[in-house]
Point group: C2
Chain length 484, copies 2
């Protein structure tokens, strides 16, 4: 095990990187690297020999070539907004180089006729959304981190978010991809075709590979028509079961017009108020479950009337207890501020148990009940915070530690809580990562949960594309010696 | 090169298969095998040592084990409705065994709450659609061959069809997949989760792999709400450009409600009349392009009013010349009979040049013009037949040979015509296979059109999963010696 500290071999590597990229693009001093080696939540801090910031695809290839020649692994990094610690090396272990894509941020081609957007991987998601908007279309991927996260990271982690219900995850929104392979060659499928059935769809491998097969350098994104109207409702509901029933009816009666269907456990509201003390619940907090519904429509559809009609029916059927349709964009933003504030509010509370699990749609209510029962029984001092993309069966079942519990103590408990939650997920045959990915935080739990054939097949693909284990080793696929 | 004719080694293989599957499930006599060794169009006939018809996943694994032990390759076969000759071995060359999935045809689980359908790969697409219908949902994949093609084949070829515009290709409709790998082990991702972001999404590799990585034995299909109303219009248009403009406006103004947008070159109508002499064109045949639009809506949406309003606007803007909205399901079926009849009509004409290409949406009109110009200049005696899924940029540019031209002569010309068409596609940076796949018919053209990095990467994946080249060798990936 090489330490990232100075050594002649590492000095030689740094010199080669400096020669290829120039002084300002290779960070080696701790204070310069720091911003790339701690995640936003503060849960993890890592280390790296250097942080390289290539400014072109050619320079990305040069970084990979140099690292390979030196036998040093590479960790690709986008906006460093991931939630599972996959974008930088651990603080101890093998020396690695972080390759940050943030300087690779040009929009290459915005094609309204083809409804596609070609761009560099380092563009932020917001920049992609703005570029789509500028040609009268939309890129529907929507995440809290969209101002900072990068589309290359969205691709590498198969990002989800609040619009998955209608538009799918990043995987469903990517028509083409370009990546630097571990041998330095450039793989590309950037023709921008909506249908192309020629052989293995290898871009699907890079999507969700978390930097373990190559470095995504470019994308062709699939754009959608911009809705003429977006209508938002906030609904008070008596149970998760009722929320799921409303979700199924909304899809059936309103076709694919529903763009978001979020559930919020009422216990989460104080979190949102940590961010904005003026946030008022649009419906009574006595409803145990709140639901945020968004409908997006083309100009021939009367979204307001559709949503109001649907909700009136839900109230009449007793599935909804109260419902408010936003009368203005400002009011809709206030509804969303509750959903978004609770994520930020959690972060302000400091360390907390975060999860991102999914089960079959028919099991969502039973899963939430089982997880709540587990928390109440085994961790009564912790406060569950339950919310998520219920229409996809994706629940964030989080827990806040008792106020004042020291971080290290909370983290130790947190690992056991997570194990308990994951056991419940497995009992439901669910997923321990619905959208956040695996990273380094979940690699062990992920790998231990796989069957022998799945492990063997996944490793075979990794070895086929990255035989020297140069790309983000230890993330997603355990190092070979650890998992024999 | 082993001949499929009798030899002690092959007799031993057959004996092992008979021992594992029983007499009735192993076909060795030419007259018994024949139905599995000729494609429906009659363009290709192959040969095989035996056709094995396993009745369970366990028996599929036994077939693969036996063939591997004997060093004999396996060609998986679904409904044998493919259009590119990928489902049986060539008539000369290595001895291979066809493994037909047709006896593996149970519906395993229909789950309305989860909106999923688990079933054996050998179920016909129609059986899957009926099983979805029985629980009040729909499986939207729709193909002419749906009564015969099998869902395993749909997965292995990433089938497309007329509803791709809204619901995507087979890839987008498969939540889980089960496959027997070349080493006989069983890989599975059948949890039925709408979101599951744990590691490489390996089912994406099997989808579209055309039997070269394993044998698909089971699928979890994603179901959609059944529409309350389906409205169909038949429109006369002055040009492909105008049809593409209408397509873009329909998507923008009517959101994702448009389920089909098919263009039909007016020259195709006589073909449909070969199948049904009473078929009348709903609009004047003087319009060079006819368009079939289908809108599918949930019960809160007034599809008829939406479609009529949209078409009135298209007429007022001069983009459409005439439009008829079907007033009954019977009338809608007559519209579709034109679209479906032209495919069957072509087949009745015997050999013809079939293509299945795609270009960027903004290039569709220019591509069609260029291909028509090529045909008129170089092949004036051949009759172009242009139709396709214009909303996806997917055009079937076909040509009928002059009446009376002997089949072998037409086929020889056909190869040159196809080469010319593919050169035009390449000039547009399009795809030579938008939805039909590669099979044996397109392997050379496909492989020659790839760059070195794409070839190397695709072969690396093939070798990783099928190191002994046991699965459908020569399909999709050329045999190693042929492509060094």
């Amino acid at each position: 095990v090489l330490s990232p500290a100075a050594s002649p071999a590492l000095e030689s590597l740094r010199a080669d990187l400096l020669g290829a990229l120039g002084q300002s693009a290779v960070l080696v001093r701790p204070e310069d690297k720091a911003g790339f080696l701690t995640d936003w939540s503060g849960d993890w801090t890592g280390d790296a020999v250097a942080v390289a910031r290539p400014g072109s695809v050619r320079e990305v290839r040069a970084c990979v070539d140099i690292c390979r020649r030196h036998g040093i692994a590479v960790v690709p990094q986008g906006g460093n907004t991931g939630l599972v610690g996959g974008a930088f090396p651990p603080a101890s272990g093998k020396a690695m180089v972080v390759v940050s894509l943030s300087r690779l941020d040009a929009v290459r081609r915005a094609d309204a006729a083809n409804a596609t957007l070609d761009l560099d991987a380092g563009c932020t998601l917001q920049k992609a959304k703005d570029a789509a908007d500028a040609i009268g279309l939309q890129f529907p991927l929507a995440l809290g981190a969209q101002g900072s996260c990068q589309v290359g990271g969205n691709a590498a982690t198969n990002a989800g978010g609040v619009n998955v219900l209608r538009f799918g995850m990043a995987r469903d929104l990517i028509l083409g991809l370009e990546a630097v392979l571990p041998d330095g060659s450039l793989w590309s499928s950037m023709r921008g075709l909506r249908k192309d059935n020629r052989g293995y769809d290898l871009k699907q491998l890079f999507i969700g590979s978390e930097g373990t097969l190559g470095i995504v350098t470019g994308l062709c994104l699939k754009l959608h028509p911009k809705p003429a109207t977006v209508e938002t409702a906030y609904v008070g509901v008596g149970s998760v079961e009722d929320a799921m029933a409303i979700s199924a009816l909304a899809r059936a009666e309103l076709s694919e017009l529903v763009t978001a269907f979020e559930i919020i456990g009422t216990e989460c509201l104080p979190l949102a108020r940590l961010v904005d003390a003026d946030l008022a619940s649009p419906v009574s907090p006595t409803f145990p479950v709140h639901v945020l519904i968004e409908l997006s429509c083309g100009r021939r559809l009367d979204g307001r009337a559709l949503l109001e009609g649907f909700l009136a029916d839900m109230l009449a059927q007793g599935l909804a207890g109260d419902a408010v349709v936003a009368q203005s964009q400002a009011q809709a933003r206030r509804f969303w501020a509750i959903r978004e504030g609770l994520v930020e509010g959690q972060a302000r509370r400091g360390y907390h148990v975060r999860s991102d699990v999914s089960v079959r749609l028919g099991d969502v209510a039973a899963f939430v009940a089982a997880a709540r029962a587990f928390a109440a029984r085994d961790w009564p001092d912790w406060t569950p915070q339950v919310y998520g993309h219920a229409g996809d069966g994706n629940i964030h079942f989080n827990l806040l530690p008792p106020t004042g519990m020291p971080r290290h103590e909370a983290q130790a408990h947190g690992r056991r809580i997570t194990e308990g939650l994951f056991a419940i997920v497995e009992a439901f045959r669910g997923s321990i990562s619905a959208e956040h990915g695996i990273g380094r935080a979940r690699t062990d739990a992920f790998w231990n949960g796989l069957g022998a054939v799945e492990r063997k097949t996944m490793r075979a693909v990794k070895v086929a594309l990255d035989p020297l284990a140069l790309m983000n080793p230890g993330c997603l696929i355990p190092l070979a010696k650890e998992s024999a």
